[in-house]
Symmetry: C2
Subunit: 319 residues, 2 copies
């Protein structure tokens, strides 16, 4: 089964070469004090320090630069309003082609400005999934632009997997690697990278209990879209995609969920001790360590900190 | 005059070897968006990601590990209550000797806990400079411990200079290197490193206008202790020491001051765009770029971000 996965280590290695000129090789940070608190020797791969402040820059660049000249010239399109929209805008600008970004009319100003600054051409629509998809499809039909899905796309997944590959190149002897699960793009890319490069390293997924559709899908073996998720981890409010699901079923060693209070505590802990700004989604694997959800005592664990895009005016520990 | 300075490049190189096992080789971060805002290509040397969250770990380790066995066995002492106290506690623990830390009875709980966690033995005293100095002198007299001054000490200065040396090893072709000035330990160590390793690179110092004793001393050529400083940059509320003064007089190319509003804006800008937690002192050189206090347009500028120890409950942009 593993041989037939939609993304391979070779895809990740190709992605790494393709995106290298455009993304940061982010640092890996450690803290002895955090290790004591978390009960493991933790290596933090800081994708919050990535371009556009999130790992999404990797997948977007891989997808955009893998398109052939003819297709890419007509532009790329997405209807994500989060980090993928900024990432796709940057990748398109770097390739010199237009990025069409469909955003709901009520999108936060900061996100609109971020996409504009990176040269994305915004189409506003009604704030419903149906309206967003319809607007994106119209752009595909009219412009011939290519839709780049934020996570349910093998090229995007391969790009996201380069973060774990870099982590393992720097710290090869890890007992486990952890990442959060939203749509499953990062987690499945991470799983393919770790399985290929360090077969004895465990692959652990973590999801907010209040957005646990991927956990339920993995546990039951049936892809199960959840109720509308209600978690502070805004990057994980998406539903697991089919491509990611097939990879996670094959490769995950363990999958746990964490509660909202642990996410906030862990976010604050990372800010305070590691001195980096992370968004709530980044704190989700840390919360699993903090709450001893996995048998990590004394182990060497890699954690991918996914992003750092937060509103500094509204921090969760100052309501 | 330069040949007779109290700290030389050889001292910094010796410090680098001495402290390497105990301190992080901190990352250098860049951001194209910050470059656009600041009008320079800026390389941020992230000493906020250093052990104990500040560059002070460097000087303390150099001073403690440079002591001979006989002297160091009786311990080290300081009456700083800031980052130097934590740094000295850690350095002493790493050398296996006691650290005696004199703290005012009204010191913030977080600072007391930080020193305790690192094994420092705290002596509380009245919250006056005279009481602190007297308590430290008593420990020196009774225990035979060695006083390690937080900045007016050539070994401490040489240790602090290793941050700039690492920055130049990674980014050799800088037009200027900037650091803030408090007691002058970091700035003078930085000046010696830059002058020795990259003689054509300018050396720029920045101080809060509301704590400008060093600026006035440098401008007048006479060491002039200031009024009690009143700046949000708590790490810079100290007075320039004589050792640092002699170095800054010889080596600085320029020295400017910045106002409090620019410090807060710059601190927030770094959190928001660079995604790292910095304390107000770290923002002081950034503020000089933001306010175009120095001719930096288009230049490649190194900035030492000095520390990241802040109270997350009390951020200056949410009074």
């Amino acid at each position: 089964m593993i041989d037939q996965l939609p993304v391979t280590l070779a895809d990740i290695e190709a992605a790494a070469s393709r995106i290298a000129p455009f993304v940061h090789r982010t640092p890996v940070l450690t803290s002895r004090r955090l290790d004591e608190i978390l009960g493991a020797k933790v290596f933090f791969k800081c994708e919050n320090l990535q371009r556009i402040g999130a790992f999404k820059a990797r997948g977007a660049h891989n997808a955009v630069f893998a398109l052939d000249e003819g297709a890419v010239a007509r532009g790329v399109v997405t209807h994500s309003s989060g980090n993928h929209a900024a990432a796709l805008s940057l990748a398109a600008r770097n390739r010199g082609v237009p990025a069409f970004i469909v955003m709901p009319s009520n999108a936060p100003t900061a996100k609109v400005e971020s996409v504009r600054r990176l040269g994305g051409e915004i189409t506003f629509c009604e704030p419903t999934i149906a309206a967003r998809e319809a607007a994106a499809e119209e752009i595909v039909a009219q412009r011939g632009a290519t839709l780049i899905h934020p996570y349910d796309d093998p090229k995007v997944i391969a790009g996201q997997g380069t973060a774990a590959a870099e982590l393992l190149a720097k710290v090869p002897d890890l007992d486990a690697v952890m990442a959060p699960v939203g749509g499953g793009g990062l987690m499945s890319g991470t799983a393919v990278a770790v399985h290929g490069l360090a077969p004895s390293t465990k692959i652990w997924a973590v999801e907010p209990a209040q957005a646990d559709d991927a956990w339920r899908s993995w546990t039951t073996g049936v892809l199960t879209p959840g109720d509308p998720p209600d978690t502070i981890a805004d990057g994980l409010r998406t539903t697991l995609g089919g491509t990611g699901f097939s990879i996670l079923r094959a490769l995950l060693d363990d999958f746990v969920t964490v509660d909202e209070a642990a996410i906030v505590s862990s976010m604050r802990l990372v800010w305070e001790v590691l001195k980096v700004v992370i968004e709530p989604s980044s704190a989700v694997p840390v919360a699993a360590l903090l709450d001893r959800k996995l048998p990590s005592d004394g182990r060497r664990v890699g954690v991918i900190l996914t992003g750092g895009n937060v509103d500094l005016e509204h921090l969760p520990w100052r309501p």
